[in-house]
């Protein structure tokens, strides 16, 4: 064993036991027996938005300009944005409310942490489950887009892994933030941030409608990068900005994991 490996083992010896799969297995079993309906509602949310806004509102809006300057239907314009929003919502729900409830009310983690599992096993297992769910939703939604004829390029398949990356960014950061939360009132702040982000991140209309300084604010927010990334992928038009969007999420994942790992004891050993 190398010196650095020994140091790492000492540092994480009390936190990690390389058994993430037990936490994942538990999540799958619990989903099978009780959460099937919750899963379905998460799938239908973006589909309902797409039908109401894209098909309904789209009928009076008419065709709009896509990322490459080409004309696309309004439904095709908002579809990738809705996928990004659903990736965000699912990941944030799983990593904040879900973790908060299991920790403070179901006392699930207290039970887990009295076994060989360490807090890092639990955190990684829960994030993995959130991503697995995100993967299922993204696949389902992309299939719906295909059925509705809103997919025009094979590139669009890449929206699936890209939305898993978006979910990863939100889930890892969300869990770190949850570690600071002590009451329901504080948890409500999360919704307070998420709703405006959903409405204003160039989800339903282009960023250019805003004055310059508002544009900067929105461009600093994570959801806008997710919306733009998926919108570019959906039509297969890429630019240097694509790399910026990807980089934004890679950085978010890194910061989120660092924060969550640093706050592990606060997160699970209250």
């Amino acid at each position: 064993m190398s010196v650095t490996e020994a140091a790492r083992n000492r540092r994480y010896g009390a936190l990690y036991s390389r058994n993430v799969r037990a936490v994942v297995g538990r999540g799958l079993m619990a989903t099978k027996s009780s959460n099937a309906l919750v899963m379905l509602s998460g799938f239908f949310e973006p589909v309902l938005y797409l039908i109401s806004m894209g098909v309904g509102l789209g009928a009076i809006v008419g065709p709009v300009q896509g990322p490459g300057g080409q004309e696309i239907s309004y439904a095709a314009y908002i579809a990738p944005a809705l996928l990004a929003v659903s990736a965000m919502n699912g990941a944030v729900y799983d990593s904040t409310w879900n973790v908060f409830f299991k920790m403070n009310f179901a006392r699930l983690y207290q039970g887990m942490l009295y076994t060989s599992l360490g807090p890092l096993d639990v955190a990684m297992g829960e994030i993995f489950l959130a991503l697995l769910r995100g993967l299922l939703y993204a696949t389902g939604f992309t299939a719906v887009l295909g059925v509705l004829g809103l997919i025009t390029t094979p590139w669009a398949v890449l929206m699936i892994p890209a939305s898993v990356l978006i979910a990863f960014g939100f889930a890892s950061l969300g869990m770190g933030i949850t570690s600071f939360m002590k009451t329901f009132q504080q948890m409500d702040w999360i919704s307070f941030v998420m709703l405006p982000m959903f409405l204003f991140s160039a989800t339903f209309y282009p960023l250019s409608v805003y004055p310059q300084h508002i544009q900067w604010l929105i461009q600093a927010m994570p959801l806008w990068h997710g919306v733009e990334l998926l919108r570019q992928i959906s039509v297969g038009v890429f630019s240097p900005a694509t790399a910026v969007h990807l980089g934004y999420y890679l950085a978010m994942v890194a910061v989120g994991i660092l924060l969550t790992t640093g706050r592990l004891r606060a997160l699970f050993l209250k």
Partner: protein, 329 residues
């Protein structure tokens, strides 16, 4: 992944007989201290627990019992002092230490989203145990906990006693060497308590070390070979139940009732009878080697109690003497 065989053979000083007859300590705590902010929950306690022993932590609410249990399990870090469980420091080797532990927490934390048998299987997976071991083990433990016909039930459909037994069954899934029981029978009816005690006796017979906290003195007398009385984070006394009674109380206790308004005044008139007289609002207690003889002395002084009772001293007398009668929350 850790297999059962490894769990059982995992090197620890306790497994290796250090020499004939030498006691093998599975837990050694030296000056163990835990502060929450400025408040000392555990304030420098030292104790050792030998393999196969049933060891009790007694004390009023807030005495630091549960905190001590958490530190043993490595889910709460000590502020200072030393602690060794199966030869390992729980702060450094939490997962390995807990591989040897079974834990029954004060409040049931069964997985309500899983069915009864699945609770056992999934919990075993947390220890990295393979399903080929867990399936027969889960059935065996359901049998042990008298829950075989509830295997497919939902957890929230179980009674309080059943949940408690399931929690104990769950804690045994990894064949622990040490079982930590935090107030195992609180909230159970007498039938359920006796069933539980019986199960715990069997485990003790199998050589499992039991560490339990309780504030039921009869439970401590029934189950514990040795115990410590803790109050405000400190050890007040320690020893076997019989030795503690010998040391801190008399052989017998005479309880006298003179009526609420007279109890307080009559204490002075009883002075000198027995080893000690204690006046409570509802009765007067005389601690004496021979309770009947003390009662005769009371009559000889012309005092006529409304009711009298001679009984053996119990751990409860010791406990109340050491931790006081006033209510602390």
């Amino acid at each position: 992944m850790v297999r059962v065989a490894e769990l059982q053979s995992k090197a620890s000083p306790v497994d290796r007989p250090p020499g004939a007859g030498a006691p093998q300590y599975v837990i050694t705590a030296g000056n163990l201290t835990k502060y929450y902010g400025d408040v000392a929950a555990v304030d420098g306690i030292s104790f050792r627990v030998a393999a196969g022993e049933a060891f009790g932590l007694l004390g009023p609410n807030g005495a630091g019992k549960s905190t001590a249990m958490k530190m043993i399990g490595g889910v709460s870090r000590r502020t200072s002092g030393s602690l060794s469980v199966m030869g390992l420091d729980p702060d450094q080797h939490g997962p390995e230490v807990r591989a040897h532990l079974g834990v029954v927490p004060q409040q049931d934390n069964l997985d309500e989203e899983l069915r009864v048998r699945d609770n056992l299987l999934v919990y075993g997976r947390y220890f990295g145990l393979p399903m080929s071991y867990l399936r027969p083990k889960a059935d065996e433990l359901l049998e042990f906990a008298q829950l075989t016909d509830k295997a497919r039930s939902r957890v929230d459909a179980l009674s309080g006693g059943m949940k408690r037994r399931l929690t104990i069954a769950r804690s045994l899934i990894n064949e622990p060497r040490i079982l930590l029981l935090d107030e195992p029978t609180t909230g159970l009816d007498p039938q359920a308590r006796h069933i539980l005690w019986d199960r715990l006796f069997r485990l003790k017979e199998q050589g499992v070390t039991l560490i339990l906290t309780t504030h039921y003195m009869d439970e401590a007398e029934q189950l514990c070979d040795r115990l410590i009385v803790v109050d405000k984070g400190r050890i007040m006394a320690g020893g076997s139940p019989a030795a503690l009674i010998r040391e801190h109380s008399s052989r017998e206790v005479l309880e006298l009732r003179f009526g609420s308004d007279r109890n307080a005044g009559i204490g002075a008139e009883l002075a000198g009878i027995g080893e000690r007289v204690e006046t409570l609002p509802d009765r007067v207690l005389i601690y004496a080697h021979d309770g009947e003889a003390a009662l005769e002395q009371v009559s000889a002084r012309g005092l006529r109690p409304l009711a009298s009772l001679v009984r053996r001293s119990s751990l409860e007398d010791v406990f109340l003497r050491l931790t006081g009668r006033s209510l602390v929350d």
